[in-house]
Amino acid sequence: MIASRDARASALARDFPLLAQPTSRGKRLAYLDSAATSQKPQAVIDALVHYYTHDNANIHRGVYELAERATEAFESARAKVARFVNAAEPAEIVWTRNTTEAINLVSFSWGLANLGPGDAILTTQLEHHSNLVPWQLLAAKTGAELRFIEVDAEGTHQLHDLEAKLRGVKLVALSHVSNTLGTIAPLDVIVPQAHAAGAVVLVDGAQSAPHFAVDVRALDVDFFVASGHKMCGPTGIGFLYGKRALLDAMPPFLTGGDMIREVGYEHTTFNELPWKFEAGTSNIADAIALGAAVDYLTGVGMDWVAEHERALTAYALERLAEFVPRGLELYGPKDLARRSGVISFNLADIHAHDVASILDTEGVCVRAGHHCTMPLMEKMGWPATARASFYLYNTEQDVDQLVLGLRKAAELFRVA
């Protein structure tokens, strides 16, 4: 069973042409940086090529066959994403460039219209800068207060004072999964309490949508945002899910072409959902390719992806334990049920960038630094961490290669 799971991941890896490419030093590539961006299966690359080769035309207003075909492919990709996260209807999915832009859309549109002095925004100490900086600016502009759910040394949310923290809160914005520590947020606790306090909830799903099945209606979140490039899709395309009633009431964000119904010299009426939020020519090709990515993930099965990553993370933690006597520090929740396939670590007193550079010579790609969570690193007292992150195409061989690279680093730096 275990062998067959790993064998399936090996087989899936062959769908990703880049993974077959050795490094310039002739090493086998062990790509352990999917939390930064995932690799792309051939099906997604083909979708891009197919669109530009056969279907390229501007969408929505063309009356000729080609434009109709492009529009159909574009809107059917939206429907695929809607099904993928179980939105009630495709109109609740708005295309954006990425997670960051989707958060900014909510901040500028919903935030400016709904927040004022005396209101509060509640986020967490774990957030990526993309889910922190927009709220800092929104708070500064509106006079609202910015509050934080604290995390403990493992990066686990501290909820004992949640009720008090929620007083006066209009918006709760938090990541589903921490990109630095892999912590899975207890949405089942936070969302009902936030709603009871009268707040709307935005969930940053950049690190969850690629890795396990997300059901926005079962979670009962008001906004859910994610990036295509972390879920086997191309860069430059992401999405905002919002409940229709909220999106309908929100003013437009970017304005111009395509998002309008009728324009006069003095006055304009806006298009309906979702196009009200999609000004200008959209990223048609990448949206269509994200539809192909969603097809690919659905074909693999999101429950299998989640189970594989959980098992691989368990295997990695077990193998990494052999370095603990040599000063390896592993960060993040110890409870595997509360973490995703992200492992942040430091090896003795070797700087994370040195670790990553040495791993690079062994063909192992890990990220090192602050992972766009500078306040969290400061709070934890880590100048930097190295981070390995897994996806459906990673195997135990990738983990073994990581372990080999760490052994080399420990030897070079004469660690224990």
Binding site: I350, A352, S357, C372, P383
Partner: protein
């Protein structure tokens, strides 16, 4: 990069030369590399002829940034301050050897940036062309 983590680099990292502080430095500067969190401070003592007579550096960070600064510190005594302000990046590269990947160039060049800033009395530009956003 294989070649970069050489014995003498790691020696400079583990046992940095001229590490610490001067009692009454003539010129000082410090800076950090936000990408890595590398931090370096240089303190220079300049004699009546305008030459560096003593030097100390302090800081923390990766082996590349700290070893580069340590090796650089050994080359500064006797240099005229105005020449220190114009040191080229070759001064670091000839110390640490070639083979630094572009991604790590900022680490290697941080000490040089700081020591030039000290000599200039203002923040020097990065001595390489890679200006990466974070």
């Amino acid at each position: 990069m294989d070649d970069f983590y050489k014995e003498y680099i790691l020696d400079h990292y583990r046992n940095p030369r001229n590490f610490g502080h001067l009692e009454a430095p003539t010129a000082t500067a410090e800076d950090l590399n936000p990408l890595c969190g590398d931090k370096i401070r240089f303190e220079l003592l300049v004699d009546a002829e305008g030459r560096v007579s003593d030097v100390r550096f302090s800081g923390k960070g990766c082996a590349i940034s700290q070893a580069s600064a340590s090796m650089l510190s050994e080359t500064l005594r006797g240099e005229k301050l105005e020449d220190v302000a114009r040191l080229p990046q070759e001064r670091v590269l000839e110390n640490v050897g070639i083979g630094i990947s572009p991604a790590r160039m900022k680490c290697a060049m941080l000490g040089l940036k700081v020591v030039k800033s000290a000599a200039l009395g203002e923040i020097a530009h990065w001595p390489d062309e890679a200006h990466e956003p974070h």
